[in-house]
């Protein structure tokens, strides 16, 4: 395909600048986002073992919870799927918006308190959404929306640059002496292979960030102020179910509700059940999960009468809503990877890590092209050195910070309520330490150490589980159901350690004018570096 050379030159500039501006935040968003593919497993890894609640006991326990905690009378949620270790109740206090959970103590007593599960998973998700920025959620979401706009432009301009040589060079990964060529080939092949994923992530992130603003503008200019009417017309008139009512009634147990759903959707796999107005005559229950007949395997829900099991709303099931509804549900399934089950989660995990690699390699390539433009033998300029420090500091600080945050989950006392703040605090502390070191010592002297730091922090995850098995007196626990977390973290730590060694060798051989040179001045020798005498 022929594109005029001045257009290619234009989009090389556009690609560089949009990529540089948003690449660092996107690294954190993609790395943390890859981890959110396995929030259930992460929560299971982080959580101490608890007594199991039998699903048949649920109706009686619902009555006990409502009697003890009237604020739970609006809505109680219950995990029934296998992504969590056991069935468990949770609800929000509508007054304070605080979450509570109930589980059975060893003596059969009801144990009610703030949530001890999924705080880790939630803080990883918040780091993902904010791109690691330590600011409030609304501001960081707006910033990530702007980043998503630039990111879309960066993706398409990158595509325009490589279109001409696309077929010739796509799968040519020229490994060899020309390192710049190899990094560029790797950047291009990862970018092209994951192009649809990245385009969709850019569009959906901007949509999530700006949806309220866009709907406001559309209400004004498209619907002439009639948007509320149009939305209301779409929602079917609610039945009595779920409305407050007096008196008591017995709720159907989860198994009976799931059976009713399976009658209209054979093989339905339930994840959660939400009881609305539990224990009341007009109580409703929403059974949410996946319909195996739906190829996209996205999350859907069916609403039933909780006392009789009569189906009230099945429009979310596949082929029962409108095509528009199916499109909207498909958009969010594509962002969250909630279709296709475990294989797609692994695929999204790898695509997320690949995205993080794109932003890292893109920044390094920009530094390299500046060096070439300046001419050989010229010392790397300030902008190159600052960008090298920022890129390595954020990349390895993000990896180290998230690993520290995960590994810490088993070391904190299980009943401690300040945990949520500590998870994000540890992440930001790891990130800040790495950034500080990267700028204080310069890229050449810090990068191999930063990779070693990330490797050590990541190794702490499987080592924590190992310590739980070997030294029972520590009060740690092992989570056999979440062995995958230990295995993946172990493999990641090995890869980072290998990277640290290879980088140290490369830096020892870097010419003095390179941004990666350890000169001037003496710093700590990089780990594993061959000792070179002057």
């Amino acid at each position: 395909m022929r594109i005029r050379p001045e257009v290619v030159k234009l989009y090389k500039g556009v690609h560089s600048w949009t990529g540089l501006i948003c690449g660092l935040l996107l690294f954190v968003a993609f790395y943390a986002g890859a981890l959110t593919m396995f929030t259930g497993t992460l929560a299971a890894w982080a959580e101490p073992p608890r007594a199991t609640i039998a699903l048949a006991d649920v109706p009686a326990l619902l009555d006990r919870i409502v009697a003890e905690r009237p604020e739970a009378g609006e809505e109680i949620h219950l995990y029934v799927g296998d992504s969590h270790a056991e069935p468990r109740f949770f609800w929000w206090d509508p007054e304070t918006n605080k979450q509570y959970v109930a589980s059975l103590g060893p003596d059969g007593r009801l144990d009610i308190g703030p949530p001890y599960s999924s705080r880790l998973a939630r803080s990883v998700d918040l780091i993902h959404r904010a791109g690691g920025l330590p600011i409030d959620r609304d501001t960081s979401l707006t910033i990530m929306g702007v980043v998503a706009l630039l990111y879309f432009v960066a993706i398409l301009s990158g595509l325009i640059i490589v279109l001409k040589s696309l077929v010739r060079d796509l799968f040519a990964l020229r490994v060899g002496r020309n390192l710049k060529r190899m990094w560029l080939d790797a950047h291009n092949v990862v970018g092209i292979v994951s192009l649809p994923f990245h385009l969709f992530m850019a569009i959906s992130t901007a949509a999530f960030a700006f949806d309220a603003d866009i709907l406001n503008l559309q209400d004004r200019f498209v619907y002439a102020g009639r948007l509320d009417e149009i939305v209301d017309a779409a929602v079917p008139a609610p039945a009595d179910a779920g409305k407050p009512s007096d008196g008591r009634a017995t709720m159907l147990p989860p198994a009976a509700l799931i059976e009713r759903v399976r009658a209209i959707s054979p093989g339905f796999e339930a994840e959660t059940i939400t009881y609305i107005q539990p224990g009341r005559p007009h109580a409703a229950a929403i059974v949410a999960g996946r319909d195996p007949a739906d190829l996209s395997a996205r999350n859907t829900g069916v609403t039933l009468e909780a006392t009789t099991g009569r189906v009230l709303d099945e429009s979310e099931l596949p082929r029962r809503g409108t095509a528009w509804n199916a499109m909207v549900a498909g958009f969010s399934a594509l962002h969250f990877g909630t279709f296709g089950g475990t294989p797609v989660r692994w695929f999204y995990f790898l695509l997320g890590l690949g995205g993080a690699f794109l932003f890292y390699s893109g920044n390094l390539l920009w530094i390299e092209s500046r060096r070439r433009r300046a001419g050989s033998g010229r010392r790397a300029d300030l902008a190159s050195r600052l960008m090298a420090s920022a890129t390595t500091g954020i990349a390895f600080g993000c990896i180290a910070g998230l690993s520290l945050s995960i590994a810490s989950a088993k070391w904190f006392p299980a009943a401690w309520t300040g945990l949520a703040g500590w998870h994000s605090g540890l992440f930001h502390a790891g990130l800040a330490m790495a950034l500080l070191a990267a700028f204080a010592f310069g890229p050449g002297r810090s990068v191999a150490w930063l990779m070693a730091f990330a490797a050590a922090a990541t190794a702490a995850i499987p080592l924590t589980s190992l310590a739980a098995v070997l030294v029972p007196g520590l009060g740690l626990w092992n989570s056999p159901g979440a062995l995958g977390v230990d295995l993946v973290a172990g493999a990641g730590a090995l890869a980072l350690a290998w990277g640290a060694r290879a980088t140290a060798r490369r830096i020892a051989a870097a010419p003095p004018e390179s941004v990666w040179s350890r000169a001037p001045g003496a710093g700590p020798p990089p780990p594993g570096a061959p000792i070179v005498s002057a």
Partner: protein, 95 residues
């Protein structure tokens, strides 16, 4: 003819992509709402129209740099915004 330097006026072009670009995107989403398939009240259609704004806006923002100057970018994109929105208002009135 010499190849023009497309990198000049980048700020004016980017602003043209952002502002008239957003107006074009809103207009296109309005055409989908009023003239596209299905009734405007069809469940879920308003959310698809919201997503359409994002997609069109991003495409204009990507290709706004191809104009020969910032003035041309503003003239073409501004003109397109007026046309699309006029068509949308006409569809809303008569369809």
């Amino acid at each position: 003819m010499n190849a023009p330097d497309l990198g000049r006026h980048w700020l004016a072009k980017a602003l043209a992509g952002l502002l008239p670009g957003l107006a074009i995107a809103i207009g296109v989403s309005g055409l989908l709402v009023w003239a596209g398939p299905g009734a405007p009240e069809a469940p879920g259609k308003y959310m698809v129209a919201m997503w359409a704004v994002v997609l069109v806006w991003m495409l204009v923002l990507t290709f706004c740099f191809l104009f020969r100057s910032g003035w041309r970018a503003w003239a073409w994109l501004g003109g397109a915004a007026i046309l699309v929105n006029a068509a949308m208002v006409a569809c809303r009135a008569w369809l």
